[in-house]
Symmetry: C2
Subunit: 271 residues, 2 copies
Amino acid sequence: MFIDCKSIAKSIDEETIALTRLTKPKLVSLAVNPDEGTISYLKSQQKKAKSLNVEHEIFVLDNVEILSEKLLEFSKDETVHGIFVAHPLPKGADELQVASLIDPEKDVEGRNPVNLGRLMYGEEGFAPCTAAAIVEILTRTTQLMGKNVVIVGRSNTVGLPLSVMLLRRDRSATVTVCHTKTQNLEEKTLQADIVVVAVGHAGFLKPEMVRENALVIDVGINVVGDRVVGDVDPEVEKKCSLTPVPGGVGVVTTAILMNRVARIASRGGKV
Amino acid sequence: MFIDCKSIAKSIDEETIALTRLTKPKLVSLAVNPDEGTISYLKSQQKKAKSLNVEHEIFVLDNVEILSEKLLEFSKDETVHGIFVAHPLPKGADELQVASLIDPEKDVEGRNPVNLGRLMYGEEGFAPCTAAAIVEILTRTTQLMGKNVVIVGRSNTVGLPLSVMLLRRDRSATVTVCHTKTQNLEEKTLQADIVVVAVGHAGFLKPEMVRENALVIDVGINVVGDRVVGDVDPEVEKKCSLTPVPGGVGVVTTAILMNRVARIASRGGKV
């Protein structure tokens, strides 16, 4: 069974639209030497922003020095409520240094270390958007208390922050984080009530790796030929509840991003 | 078998003493309405500081407002290199707000959210001291790559930061975080190569909960009558490698704390 993520996104969008009736939120998106895929992503972001009455401006920049200047500028600019930086940054760029330049109260993607650290205090207003989207999908779909969750992938945008968020007392899942060095991965995923896959390999999670009726969250976005596919073999859907790709975690992530921009604008800087 | 943590602490102390020959490091420790146990802890901290040529001053304060003022003052004071706040804070105090007042570059305990967030970027210069001590003990005792680690406890001083640190690529353990809501805890600890227990219950981990030759880290400090005991039943030592209590994680934690103060003083603010 596929989980209906579009209706989750829709309900978030409705709140966003209600907020943007009262205020003029603005998001800026910055990219350094973006490839075609990134530009196409930013354009779809812009379309989404427009549909929600969020003002949106894209800045295509030549190098990380200019990016750094722009981040400081927009952090101070009171007409800008949210700042988004396209990733990956050019090779050799210091991700931590760049993320630290974004005003934490405009860091709608949740990359500034202060926002990652706040997660360990239970503060999730600026949690990484994808992790926040997964929490939103899970809490709307199931009870998390005491469930065994296996997360495959340990990035600082998904696996690491998500593990901290699922351990928060009001959720209290038991969380295992796996990755390329994990031994007997299948043994672990087979024990899980919930499996989250964020590895960037098309069809990575096979049906025989999950138990009947598990809940599976597919975070992958892989381009195979002219199709976009996830990290989970579509056959998994026959025995589990699965988020689709496209139209799954991604649409909820974008909805949350826009919702944050609107909230920041309407609350004068606080999510 | 008990793991010899004192010799690990000693080798860290030797580096500290070498550093304090060249500089005048100073640590301040602040406590709001401390109980007897806290005062006795601060005094033992002071004794340790003295033995390493680290200047140390204790401030006993009346309330969190004064604490906040002092934290701002010492954050600016160039003669102070490390700031320690005794915990728990008085009931109702905002832990996150207080921690955020400590200059991240003097936050020797690793409580400021920016230092917790930096862990997700692999930056551990100001990792929570207890988590850093456990990593130190583990990396000196075993290979972590691909090992199954079960952490019991999800505090933001031990369980959460430690899980992120053990997942770092140069360590690459597979990490499960368990807690009071975990179902069938014994099933999980029995599968672990390494078990870390930080729950604050004397003798919580029983021998039948761990497998032969596992490595067990006891983070507990519980006062039972006139004795200090850990979270692990001492019988576990007969089948596993175990850190003792007292004289285990605690002594390494203090050694790391003092070492950081010395490093900050000698490097002009950077650990």
